[in-house]
């Protein structure tokens, strides 16, 4: 069975090729079903591989399958090969699982779109790339998937390309990610020049030979890469804008799978990270800061998807905190539960947007629970999961992370500080998610309230813009809105994901004796690099109780403001929070200002100075020619005089020479 691993990425690739060739002919809905079938088949194969991997002894669950030499050049040998180990198969399982569900959902969601089949072309290509990323047996193959998912993300964010804001968001995502890719490439180069290999198993074996400085450099470069892909400070700015893409894309790529690639990369490279305490601490601090920062921004968003986008950034921050604390299993546990509940929330939001005729402003929603019972109920499950209410999935995984931060080795009191910030962020999370649920599903219906005047038409954007500030979403004049429940293709995935969000904690439940399935399964991968929890049951329970209390406080406060309306919510939403501390605007000002000026300076220099010099030489030659032209007058007398004068001069010179 293990040998079949190549089928896992090959199936979505086949789907992609078939749809490229015949997608338009297949049309709606068949193209969607083809794509869904290939992705689901990939999930089935992954599950089979996983089962046969489980059949082996725990220490022996590593398997490599090499297809061919991809880049053989000099000392470098890059294989097209797969590494199947607990980490890879865990990633592949949840990626194919969530992907299949979201493919199914998309069949309903993209109904009627003129580019229906194109959407599934990109979606299948994405799944292929994501699987190459997690299954590749070396850094370069992971990079292939890494860039591939980035390209798909670009294509899908700008899917509705006639909208300038979507086009701009797609480009921004790709370019911002490229900054991270720069880090990825340099980390690969440094690994290769010091260890002579790019293959994970060899890196794992040779990493102890790394000098401390090199390990730190590699780790920090990997952090740059991960911060780009996983939207951490300071490279997160593309993710909120990425919401311009169709909602299934936001759920699949920008919440559940692609954005977790950074966490996967850091986990995969844990044998290097473990040799650099300072890098681990920096990773933890970056993650915690991002978690807090994005949670604060999320409390003041009005766009239903923007709340979830900032929430995703924040939750990814938790995973970085876990990695930095050496708690790789906790990071992956949270990655999986987050994939369930965040995909669920995004798809629920999509269902709402669908029902509201493309309205995304939560201020014009409310009371939707009654008209959309399934969407409402599943969204509520997702809400409780992310808010950290026991026994829903998010509670367990977040708790593991906070516990690991609490126990962080060394670093003075850093671990305790990060724990406190993480706890406060959890409270904020509970608050902003409750705010969203109350605004959208509870209270009164604001569906047909008058909107403020629409923003200026997007189509008339100055073409010369370099990187303008993000556009506000256009508010179109809506016809009378009659929200309704979505078709089965859309609500079935919601129900499945809600089940995951509710019960996902079982994967790694600490309560029942020594269940801890996920930890036991993943442990061999992180042998020697992982932090083991030492706290006793008492401490664990105390910390869990504190976290739960925090979550309940957040929910209670949100209810005060948004459910019972005892506090005016607008006072809690200063402009600064809504604009996410102006970071994005500052970037836009920088690149639109000095950045653009630098490029313009280079272009002007090239035209005026460099090329000017060339033309100057040409002009000079020409002028010299004109200057000398009179000498060639064609008058024989003049030439004779010239010859005579010349001869005389020469004779004089010779004579003087002879005399002297």
């Amino acid at each position: 069975m293990l040998d079949l691993i190549w089928l896992v990425p090959a199936l979505p690739l086949a789907g992609f090729l078939i749809l490229v060739a015949a997608g338009a002919r297949l049309g709606e809905p068949r193209a969607g079903w083809v794509a869904t079938a290939f992705t689901s088949a990939s999930f089935v194969v992954t599950a089979l591989v996983w089962i046969s991997l489980l059949g082996r002894d725990a220490e022996n669950r590593v398997f490599e399958k090499v297809l061919f030499d991809w880049l053989p050049a000099g000392n470098l040998r890059v294989e097209a090969g797969f590494l199947v180990d607990p980490l890879a198969i865990t990633m592949a399982l949840f990626v194919t699982f969530v992907s299949s569900l979201i493919h199914l959902y998309s069949v309903g969601y993209m109904h009627g779109d003129p580019k229906f089949s194109k959407f599934f072309v990109y979606l299948n290509l994405f799944v292929f790339s994501m699987l190459m990323l997690v299954l590749g047996n070396n850094l370069v193959l992971t990079f292939l998937g890494w860039e591939g998912v980035g390209a798909c993300s670009y294509l899908l964010i700008s899917f509705w390309h006639t909208r300038e804001s979507a086009a701009r968001a797609g480009k921004k995502a790709f370019i911002t990610n490229r900054v991270g890719d720069w880090g990825f490439m340099l980390a690969t180069f440094l690994i290769f020049t010091t260890l002579g290999t790019v293959t994970y198993t060899d890196i794992g074996a040779l990493a102890p030979n790394l000098a401390g400085g090199t390990a730190t450099a590699v780790s920090l470069l990997l952090l740059v890469a991960a911060a780009g892909k996983s939207a951490q400070l300071p490279l997160y700015v593309w993710l909120p804008d990425a919401m311009e893409g169709p909602t299934p894309v936001s759920a699949l790529i920008h919440a559940a799978t692609m954005v977790t690639a950074g966490v996967y990369l850091l986990s995969r490279m844990s044998p290097v990270l473990v040799h650099s305490d300072v890098s681990l601490r920096i990773i933890a601090v970056v993650g915690t800061a991002t978690a807090l920062f994005a949670a604060l921004a999320a409390t003041a968003q009005h766009d239903i998807k923007k709340v979830l986008a900032y929430s995703t950034v924040s939750q990814l921050g938790y995973m970085f905190l876990a990695v930095g604390s050496g708690a790789y299993v906790a990071a992956l546990f949270h990655m999986i539960t987050h994939a369930f509940f965040k995909a669920l929330l995004f798809l629920g939001a999509g269902s709402v947007i669908h029902a509201m005729n493309d309205e995304q402003d939560m201020r014009y929603m409310g009371a939707l629970r009654k008209v959309m019972p399934i969407t409402g109920a599943t969204f509520i499950v997702g809400w409780l999961a992310i808010a950290g209410v026991p026994p829903f999935a998010g509670f367990w995984s977040k708790d593991d992370i906070l516990l690991a931060a609490w126990e962080m080795d060394g670093g003075g009191g850093l671990g305790k500080v990060l724990w406190a910030v993480g706890l406060f962020t959890a409270l904020l999370t509970a608050y902003y998610m409750s705010r969203q649920v109350f605004m959208v599903f509870y209270g009164e219906a604001h569906w047909n309230e008058a909107r403020p005047a629409p923003a200026t038409d997007n189509d008339e954007v100055d073409l010369a813009e370099f990187e303008g500030p993000p556009e506000t979403v256009t508010v179109e004049a809506h016809s009378e809105v009659h929200p309704h429940e979505s078709p089965w293709t859309m609500w079935v995935p919601l129900v499945v994901l809600a089940t995951g969000a509710a019960l996902g904690g079982l994967l790694n439940l600490p309560v029942i004796g020594d269940w801890l399935f996920l930890e036991r399964f993943l442990e061999p991968v992180f042998a020697g690099t992982m932090h083991h929890i030492t706290a006793g049951t008492g401490t664990k329970l105390l910390l869990a109780a504190i976290a739960t209390t925090g979550a309940l406080i957040g929910i209670w406060f949100a209810a005060q403001v948004w459910l019972w309306r005892r506090v005016d919510g607008r006072k809690l939403e200063p402009r600064l929070l809504e604009d996410a501390f102006e970071v994005d605007a500052a970037y836009a000002r920088f690149f639109g200002g000095p950045g653009r000026a630098t490029a313009q300076l280079a272009a002007d220099t090239d035209r005026v100075v460099v090329d000017g010099a060339v033309n100057g030489v040409a002009q000079g030659t020409r002028r010299l020619g004109f200057l000398l032209q009179p000498a060639q007058s064609g008058l024989v007398r003049q030439y004779a005089i010239g010859i005579a004068v010349g001869a005389l001069g020469l004779a004089t010179w010779l004579l003087i020479g002879a005399v002297a």
């Binding site: 050049a73 000099g74 797609g170 020049t193 060899d202 074996a205 090329d611």
Partner: protein, 529 residues
């Protein structure tokens, strides 16, 4: 015709035929009678394609394990001066020859010169013959002749079939390149006469390279002269400004050939006549060239960003891409140099395809101004799809050809030129910036009335682009067949540099055997299931 009888190996002198077939084709086309000009392109394409078929045959019979020159053919030419017709092919030139063989017939068959097809076709065939000659010549004099002959047809193509400022651009191109060539000619004469020994005078590349009898300083001066000539051709910053003008004013076919084949004469020359002939001087001057290359990568990208003319933008992207090639060459590692050679081919394919696409846009909209184009993806989705693939290749997306070259160059140069590589790697960010921004302005957005009328690609146009896309994907996914054929020649060239200078390639890191766990699993590959 005695020239076609190869000495040394019996029978068929394929390399001579490669040069001769398009040359004869040019003559035949030139004699097509007035009134039957419509025959020019079919006949020319046939000759060009015949040469292309020969180049593919050459690829098939080429011995990939041989580091030396193959299919050599030597004929004494000006015996008193030691000048001979000496051609040969090795792993370094092989794929440039194949590229030259395949791209000309595509250009001739697929791209309409818009008027006067007879001389256009004839000049194209002369260009193909001369390009083959330049890539195959193993005699300094012969190389110089071909290197110069190439200029004439390109001058004619720009001046004859170009756009409004074609004369300025053609003159600039010709004179600028000639200025460099003049230096090279002096250097060739100096090298030949100073290397003359009891064995007499010779222009033979192998003999001169193996003899290495020049004084260190002399060799450095000679290298510098060669390097200036090649730097102009590549072009390296700051001697690049002829390129945007030539590209912008040249007809589409001319631009494609200019980018795909002619710029490679510069980088190929650096390898063949720089590194091989002057190993010590190459090492001595490497920091200068690498610095210029890295400046070119960043500077070319920045300047490209602000271009308002789409074709000019692609031209500046060439400056950046060719900077990568030079960086790879002067990394002096097998990986870097292989990447550099592969990237010459890649750049030819990707940038060639970009120029074709820009040409298609121009034919429809009669403008290349980015500000006048908008929303073409809505109007012409297939064209947008082709553009996207080619753009992603140019940006260096893994799985497509551009990545393979760029990655090998960077990983190869990181070992020997770390900080330059760090800066050069940032060039991949900028490449995404200028290309994606241009794509956004040209293809995204809602088209206005004029742009909404843009016709999508015709079948003929799709067929022109198809081979480019096929090459982009093939080289991206499975470059091993190319790399395997390049490697022996590259390896022996670096050994040659080590033998003749104090340069030593970096040690391969000591790889401690992997622990038992992964060995176990390695052994099980193919088992189970």
């Amino acid at each position: 015709m005695s020239i076609l009888a190869a000495t040394g190996d019996a029978g068929f002198a394929i390399l001579n035929w490669l040069i001769l077939v398009p040359a004869v084709g040019a003559v035949v086309v030139a004699f097509i009678p007035r009134g039957r000009e419509d025959l020019a392109r079919p006949v020319g394409t046939a000759f060009s394609a015949a040469a292309g078929a020969l180049s593919v045959y050459l690829l098939a019979v080429f011995d990939g394990s041989d580091p030396g020159f193959q299919f050599e053919s030597t004929r004494s030419w000006i015996a008193d001066l030691g000048i001979s017709w000496h051609v040969g092919v090795d792993g370094i030139s092989l794929f440039l020859v194949v590229l030259t063989g395949l791209i000309f017939p595509i250009v001739l068959a697929g791209l309409d010169p818009h008027g006067d097809p007879k001389p256009y076709t004839a000049w194209m065939l002369v260009l193909q013959a001369a390009s083959f000659g330049a890539f195959l010549a193993l005699d300094l004099f012969l190389f110089f002749v071909f290197f110069e002959v190439v200029l004439v047809p390109m001058y004619m193509l720009i001046a004859g079939w170009g756009y409004d400022r074609r004369r300025y651009a053609a003159n600039k191109f010709f004179i600028y390149t000639m200025a460099g060539s003049a230096l090279m000619l002096v250097a060739i004469i100096a090298v030949v006469s100073l290397s003359a020994s009891d064995g007499g005078i010779t222009f033979d590349l192998n003999t001169l390279a193996e003899r290495q009898s020049l004084a260190t300083n002399t060799a450095r001066w000679a290298f510098a002269a060669f390097a200036v000539a090649f730097a102009i051709k590549i072009p390296l910053v700051p001697v690049h400004t002829w390129l945007p003008d030539a590209h912008t004013q040249a007809p589409t076919g001319g631009s494609v050939i200019l980018a795909a084949v002619m710029l490679k004469l510069g980088t190929y020359g650096l390898v063949r006549f720089g590194l091989y002939l002057f190993p010590e001087a190459s090492v001595y001057f490497a920091p200068v060239l690498v610095t210029l290359a890295v400046i070119g990568i960043i500077y070319g990208a920045l300047v490209a960003t602000m271009q308002t003319d789409l074709k000019r933008l692609v031209a500046y992207s060439s400056v950046a891409h060719m900077g990568f090639v030079v960086l790879g060459i002067f990394a002096f590692t097998v990986t870097g140099l292989e990447g550099g050679i592969l990237q010459m081919v890649n750049h030819g394919v990707s940038t060639g395809a970009l120029f074709i696409l820009v040409g298609f846009i121009y034919e429809r909209r009669h403008t290349r101004r980015i500000s006048e184009l908008k929303g073409l993806q809505k109007a012409a989705p297939v064209m947008a799809g082709f553009f996207t693939v080619v753009m992603l290749s140019s940006v260096g997306l893994p799985g497509l050809n551009g990545f393979v070259g760029e990655f090998l160059i960077l990983i190869g140069s990181f070992a020997t030129r770390r900080w330059w590589t760090v800066v050069a790697a940032a060039g991949v960010i900028l490449a995404a910036l200028y290309l994606l921004w241009a794509y956004q302005r040209v293809f995204h957005g809602a088209p206005d009335e004029v742009n909404a009328e843009t016709r999508d690609l015709l079948t003929r146009e799709k067929l022109v682009l198809a081979p480019f896309v096929a090459a982009i994907v093939f080289i991206g996914v499975y470059p091993a067949p190319l790399l395997d054929r390049v490697e022996p020649a590259v390896d022996s060239l670096i050994t040659h540099i080590e033998d003749n200078s104090n340069y030593r390639r970096p040690d391969q890191p000591v790889v401690v055997p992997a622990p038992t766990q992964s060995e176990d699993t390695g052994a099980e590959t193919g088992g189970e299931g």
